[in-house]
């Protein structure tokens, strides 16, 4: 009960806030209150609201498309899937035969495969739209007294957003019948350390490399940097990852399998991701720096006798950083999702590996869940990128006026 109360009050609060902001921004209430106007009528706030609103519609469309794709790909598999599934840790083959058909019908219903496509879509939207609800799935336990597997357990739970369950233990590991929403967050925690360290390598090495290339434009550093950028950009990512793996493991004898408790095993995946990512960063840093070099303010600074380093580090950097800063929130947030290739190559059990395993064993709820969460993260990331840009550059105003 308390769950519903909290859930609905949060939703109510959000709706009230949105209405309030729109009213203030349209100068219907608090017309002359400068403080309220400055806080709630801020163009950035309204812009964010609009952005989130329109993005949610796009997400919804993308999610519905995924829904139909999954139905097209898996509808014929439901029966096989049912027979591979363990309910409450009990393989279906151990259930009495007269129960099996009943179980499979219930299973289809739990998975949202029962009824017409529109009913299925309705149920699907009901489960994923974020408002509080209670959803139940059937499961079975072994009655130890009689030795029979007959006990129906309505496994119910409160949800804000239900993404379904994972039944196959080859995906969920030791955990039996884990909820996708919980599982995805567990996996994110595994993907994140490697991802975020790679982002640090990317930015930490990419910016100095770009600066160095811009400073010695057409010189040897520029040529070397460009050669590296072109090589990494042109050869297939998979080939590049394997070359680096061969270098790290074959030459430097670093561990080839990721282990969260062994710092040495972080080096290879982090550098593999970071060294690939920094090419983009370096390329753009160089380009923006070179563009700024011909500006009047740089000539003026030079004429005043400022040192090259000071012009580069303080004045040019301040301007060149504006277009670059937009991608930083996205790279940090996408670190949560890991990389398909690197996670598979170094056996990191994160989101990337989850998707690959889920596809192999046809655990479509896991796939669907990751798509939805990925879409949400993308929206937040790009919105944050716009906000950060607007904060960093006072010339940008996001209002229409």
């Amino acid at each position: 009960m308390a769950f519903y109360l909290i859930g609905y009050s949060i939703i109510f609060f959000i709706i009230a806030l949105v209405i309030f902001i729109e009213l203030v921004a349209h100068r219907i209430i608090y017309k002359d209150n400068a403080v309220m106007q400055r806080i709630f009528g801020h163009p950035l706030l309204r812009y964010s609201l609009r952005r989130v609103g329109s993005s949610l519609i796009t997400i919804l469309l993308a999610v519905i498309a995924t829904f139909f794709l999954i139905r097209a790909g898996y509808a014929s598999e439901m029966d096989t899937l049912c027979h591979q599934t363990q309910f409450g840790g009990v393989p279906i083959s151990k259930l009495p035969p007269q129960l099996v058909e009943d179980v499979c019908v219930r299973f289809e219903k739990d998975m949202g495969f029962a009824g017409s496509p529109f009913e299925q879509l309705g149920f699907f939207l009901y489960s994923i739209l974020p408002f509080p609800k209670t959803l139940c799935t059937t499961s079975f336990t072994l009655d130890s007294a009689t030795g029979e597997y007959l006990m129906h357990v309505q496994d119910c739970r409160f949800f804000i957003m239900d993404l379904g369950k994972i039944f196959n233990t080859s995906v969920s590991g030791d955990q039996k019948e884990v909820y996708v929403i919980d599982f995805v967050f567990q996996k994110m925690a595994i993907s994140f350390p490697v991802g975020i360290l790679a982002v640090l390598v990317d930015l930490g090495l990419g910016y100095p490399l770009g600066l160095w290339m811009a400073k010695h434009k057409d010189g040897i550093p520029d040529k070397l940097g460009n050669a590296y950028i072109i090589t990494v950009g042109s050869i297939p990512g998979v080939a590049y990852y394997y070359i680096l793996l061969a270098v790290f493991v074959g030459i430097f004898s670093l561990p080839s399998v990721y282990n969260a408790s062994d710092p040495l095993s972080y080096i290879a995946p982090v550098l593999t991701l970071g060294l690939a990512g920094l090419t983009g960063t370096a390329l753009w840093v160089r380009r923006y720096m070179v563009d700024e070099f011909n500006s009047d303010y740089v000539k003026f600074a030079r004429a005043k006798g400022l040192s090259e380093n000071r012009i580069m580090g303080v004045h040019v950097m301040r301007n060149a950083i504006v277009p670059l800063i937009r991608s930083i929130p996205a790279s940090v947030l996408f670190a949560l999702l890991g990389s398909f290739f690197v996670e598979k190559i170094y056996n990191i059990q994160g989101i990337g590996n989850l998707l690959i395993n889920a596809n192999a064993s046809k655990e479509f709820f896991a796939i669907q869940g990751v798509v939805i969460i990925e879409a949400f993260i993308a929206v937040i990331a790009y919105l944050l990128g716009d906000i950060v840009t607007a904060v960093a550059d006072p010339r940008i105003s996001l209002s229409k006026e």
Partner: protein, 349 residues
């Protein structure tokens, strides 16, 4: 004042000596003395000024040459389901891996590559793979470029198309591509044997024209309202003429930049598909570079047991596909990169 007058007199006096009349000639009037300018000739002259471009052309020539004639040089079957692995290895005593020899120039596909590859001649696999990869890259790039250019040009030119296309773009960018491939492949998997090539072409062209179309749209919006276009429109030029003769020629350099990345991009995309097992199946007789690379790097690293990957010791397994893949993509990419520079008229003369 007097000085000036004196000089003037001197000039008038000497005019007959300074100039001689040579008569007139119709031909001479029409002749252009400066060298004739051709955009594409100037572009190619500019292109071949870079020494690495010539290196790239040589690498490309070698790869294409061996792609055509390589498999003929050693007469092995690419995939033969009637023979067993032991038969294919010839001498079972050799073991599971074999470094390059006089009979097998790239060695033999090892045990880690799975039952369908094991024992095949790697030279044949690699060049057959390069053939299919190249064919795929050319077909997919052509489709992407034609569709991307057409849609992009229309999108940029007609204002009413903009909101619709923007919605479509937002939608596409919100669906993770790899996931879409995985899901679509589940639908298509039964038809892979008969229509494999068309399915892969469809997967790789489905959304990838969007990149070129978006860039075209942005560029056309920038130049759409320049004076010369408004003048053209006022004079009643038709839309198709406007797009073909006013807008597209202006964007050649940008188009070349995008198109140049297309072929190596498609080769890479196929490698990624193969990495996830979404590409062709060698059991149907189709092999690509992506499959060879994925198969040859199979082994212990991907599993929890870890240990030492077989391909790290038998390094020829990784080297063989890379020897083809890396020169192929780098040369295409760099030639395109240089061509994009060369087609910018500002670099001519």
């Amino acid at each position: 004042m007097e000085e000036a007058k004196r000089i003037n007199d001197l000039i008038v006096a000497n005019e007959a000596e300074l100039f001689t009349v040579i008569g007139t000639s119709e031909e001479e009037i029409e002749r252009i003395d400066s060298a004739p300018y051709s955009f594409w000739r100037a572009s190619f002259r500019q292109l071949f000024k870079k020494p690495f471009v010539i290196v790239c052309f040589i690498m490309l020539f070698l790869v294409v040459f061996f792609t055509i004639f390589g498999p003929m040089m050693l007469s092995y079957e690419i995939y033969d389901s009637s023979t067993t692995t032991a038969e294919r290895f010839g001498d079972p005593q050799i073991g599971y891996y074999q470094f390059p020899t006089a009979d097998h120039w790239f060695g033999i596909c090892g045990k880690n590559m799975g039952a369908s590859f094991e024992g095949l001649d790697l030279w044949t696999c690699v060049w057959e793979g390069a053939r299919l990869s190249l064919l795929l890259a050319i077909v997919v790039s052509l489709i992407n470029v034609i569709v991307g250019l057409t849609i992009g040009a229309l999108w940029g030119y007609f204002k009413w198309l903009d909101p619709i296309m923007l919605e479509i773009r937002n939608f596409i960018s919100n669906v993770p591509t790899l996931l879409l491939y995985i899901l679509l492949m589940n639908v298509f998997i039964d038809y892979m044997e008969d229509y494999g090539f068309f399915i892969i072409v469809f997967l790789l062209t489905m959304f990838s024209w969007m990149g070129l179309a978006t860039i075209m749209r942005n560029q056309i919006i920038i130049i759409r309202n320049r004076e010369y276009n408004i003048a053209s429109k006022t004079l009643g030029t038709s839309s198709s003429n406007m797009i073909l003769h006013n807008l597209l020629p202006y964007l050649v350099s940008i188009i070349v930049t995008v198109v140049s990345g297309e072929i190596p991009g498609v080769i890479s995309a196929e490698v990624s598909l193969a990495f996830f097992g979404l590409s062709f199946d060698i059991k149907n007789g189709d092999v690509t570079l992506g499959q060879v690379l994925t198969a040859s790097t199979q082994g212990a690293t991907g599993t929890a047991s870890g240990a030492w990957a077989p391909w790290l010791t038998n390094w020829y397994l990784l080297l063989a596909p890379l020897v083809v893949l890396v020169p192929l993509t780098i040369s295409f990419y760099y030639i395109g990169f240089a061509l994009a520079d060369a087609t910018d008229p500002r670099t001519h003369r």
